[in-house]
Amino acid sequence: MHFHKFEKIWLTFGIGALVLFLVILGYGAFYLGTHPQSHGVTIDPQNVEAHEAFKPENLGLTKVDEDRYIVNVVASAFHYDFGVDADGNAINHIEIPKGATVLFQVVTKDVIHGFNIAGTNVNMMVEPGYISSMEVEMNQAGEFTLLCNEYCGIGHHMMYTTVEVYQ
């Protein structure tokens, strides 16, 4: 089988570029720990409240340390449960200071949902039986739309809330 000289040059360049991409991605993933979320932590989808993090009183934003927060969310068609505020009203907006490190932990009680803070790298599939989690540093200020980006039924596009990252 014969390769033209120029085809050898092209394939060397092309494969070289692919290898370079993979090295960059691999360095980020394995050395800096920027893997996409994958923890394989399981939970009973019919009884998520049994897990400490998803008891009704532990839902929503919790400050755990200076500039460290945890956000626990229970997703269900077509709603994100962030718990209730002091007056007993459902929370549908959270505020996080810029630069804070936030651990998002999300589970679903029914079907598959998405959990995407639009315009950020917080983007996870939420599947029955697994805890989706991702720790990020919120570095951009502004108001973000947190929405379900995996089809979950006829109300899918009504499943959202807002996250404000303030200065």
Partner: protein
């Protein structure tokens, strides 16, 4: 003997066979279903972009996700599969022939696929299966939806067995000869399709059907998704490879040239067979239950499948350049000007090739492990596959239609249809540029895919997406005009064009071409390597998924409005 393909010893084996009338009827049946699907699916697409513009509401209580399901199933599964199986049959018939018995079995394939399609379509239209074409558990559709899909797949298997038998008999009649290039390519594509669709068939037969019927209480969601995507990525190569067949072996003839390299074309197809399947995790990168190391391994394998496409790009440019230079057009790009721009059989696939440049680049980005979180389930992805399948693949299929339909119906591609076809191609290109471009940008801004119109409570971000959704409505409307034109062209070529003989263009090798190495047809080895790669990529993570499974999921039908 009922075989047409018995070639006398002194006959040139590369000579193309004629397609008898009865066979043409079979192949046209596949085309009818394909083009009816194009029209229905396209209409649904139009309704979707209009709804998403925010200024249109569906009448008669039709749900957005119902039409989205129709759009996905009928275009991504029905149109593509029927066109591909029909087109591949013509390639086999032309190069290796079809016996009467094979034709009868092929009709069986057609009817199994068609009945399956009808069962699934009716279920969706009754509003019992608004689960989108990926039908992710634990959303539950009516069992008939899954049964219909299973029938479509079984039908394609029958077609695959016929194709393999066709080549097998030809080889028996031609000992020591290499198989015709197009027959080789069809065989590769159907081997890949068969191995891949075993995954989705297992999910549907073992998991979905018993569960939706109530025989199984719960379903293992991650297993079903993993089986689906084991099939889902080779599915896109099943669409792409027939386009590559046309690019490698038909386009050179249309532009008045020869094959660039028989062996390199075969090598790229063998590489596609190896690397199309063990890569499904790159659709599951943001899922919680799969080991990230195995995700990364499949990302590496995904990058391997880019290599045969790099080879294809070189081969195409080289075909153009060599042909042009031979015709006396020198200079660095003189050959580019000579290309038959006014011949729609070339022009439509060429625009398809152009679309594959951003389409391919976008694909590399999508598969880039952690970078996938930037685009996953945003409308960028929708923009991506509207470039790859809905432009690259479909424009190549349209390019094939212009000569294949008249060839089968005994008519001619007229000058006026050719002109209309050029116009159709431009309409498609412009519409897609606007729609897909807007989708890519909106996706980078975070706009989600698979969503009906929503203002998301009026957030600033959602407001900024509005303009792009309007652009998608404009692009989508232009595309629908393109669909009307194409359906008109199809009807014209089928029933009304003047009688005559339209060429079935198949490129030949150079007189003094380097012989294709014999090992290229070591099918057992190719299949063994394919299976080995699949076992390597999937065994450990799949066992891990099963061993660490959470409790299963009960079915949910109320979220799709089906309780």
């Amino acid at each position: 003997m009922a075989l047409r393909n018995v070639v006398l010893p002194n006959e040139d084996p590369r000579q193309l066979l004629a397609i008898p009338k009865q066979e043409a009827k079979l192949y046209m049946s596949f085309m009818y279903v394909a083009f009816i699907s194009l029209f229905i699916g396209g209409l649904m697409g139009l309704l979707q972009v209009l709804v998403r513009s925010g200024s249109f509401t569906l009448p008669f209580g039709i749900g957005y996700y119902q039409i989205l399901t129709v759009h996905g199933v009928i275009l991504a599964l029905v149109l593509t599969t029927f066109f591909i199986i029909g087109f591949q049959f013509t390639l086999m018939s032309k190069t290796v022939g079809m016996s009467v018995k094979q034709r009868k079995v092929s009709w069986l394939a057609f009817w199994i696929m068609t009945i399956g399609t009808l069962v699934t379509a009716v279920t969706i239209l009754l509003g019992k299966a608004s689960v989108l074409y990926t039908f992710y558990a634990p959303l539950k559709a009516h069992p008939a939806f899954y049964i219909g899909l299973a029938l479509v797949i079984v039908g394609t298997w029958v077609a695959a067995f016929v194709n393999w038998r066709q080549l097998y008999l030809w080889k028996k009649g031609h000992p020591g000869e290499k198989s015709p290039l197009l027959a080789f390519m069809v065989t590769i594509n159907m081997i890949m399709w068969f191995i891949a669709s075993l995954g989705v068939a297992a999910a549907v037969l073992v998991q979905f059907i018993p569960w939706s019927l109530g025989y199984a209480e719960t379903i293992n969601v991650l297993v079903s998704r993993t089986l689906f995507w084991y099939f889902g990525h080779p599915l896109v190569y099943f669409w792409l490879l027939p386009a590559y067949m046309a690019w490698y072996a038909i386009i050179p003839k249309i532009i008045g040239g020869k094959l660039f390299s028989d062996s390199l074309a075969r090598l790229s197809f063998v590489l596609f067979l190896f690397f199309s399947i063990p890569v499904g995790f790159h659709h599951q990168l943001t899922e919680p239950g799969i080991d990230p190391t195995w995700k990364f391994i499949q990302v590496v394998l995904t990058f391997m499948v880019i290599i045969p496409s790099l080879m294809t790009a070189f081969s195409l440019f080289a075909t153009f350049e060599i042909t042009g230079r031979r015709k006396g057009y020198g200079g660095l790009f003189g050959w580019f000007k000579h290309l038959p721009w006014k011949d729609v059989r070339f022009f439509a696939p060429f625009v398809g090739m152009l679309a594959f440049i951003p389409g391919g680049a976008g694909g590399i980005i999508n598969a880039s492990h952690q970078v996938n979180t930037l685009v996953h389930n945003t409308i960028w992805v929708t923009g991506h596959f509207h470039l790859t399948v809905a432009t690259t693949v479909i424009l190549t299929f349209f390019g094939i239609t212009y000569w294949l339909i008249p060839h089968l119906t005994g008519r001619k591609l007229t000058k006026s249809v050719n002109r209309l076809g050029i116009f159709q191609t431009i309409v498609w290109g412009v519409g897609m540029l606007i729609m897909s471009g807007a989708m890519h940008i909106q996706g980078l801004l975070g706009g989600p895919r698979r969503s009906a119109y929503s203002d998301y409570g009026g957030t600033e971000q959602a407001v900024s997406w509005g303009a792009y959704q309007m652009a998608q409505a404009i692009g989508g409307t232009i595309l629908f005009v393109g669909i009307i034109l194409m359906v008109y062209i199809f009807i014209k070529l089928t029933f009304f064009s003047p009688k005559g003989v339209e060429e079935f263009p198949v490129a030949e090798e150079e007189e003094n071409a380097e012989p294709t190495p014999k090992w290229m047809e070591n099918w057992k080895l190719w299949i063994a390597i394919t299976i080995a790669l699949i076992l390597f990529a999937y065994t450990i993570p799949f066992v891990d998924i099963i061993q660490n499974s959470p409790p299963g999921s009960v079915p949910f039908d109320w979220p799709i409005g089906n309780s």
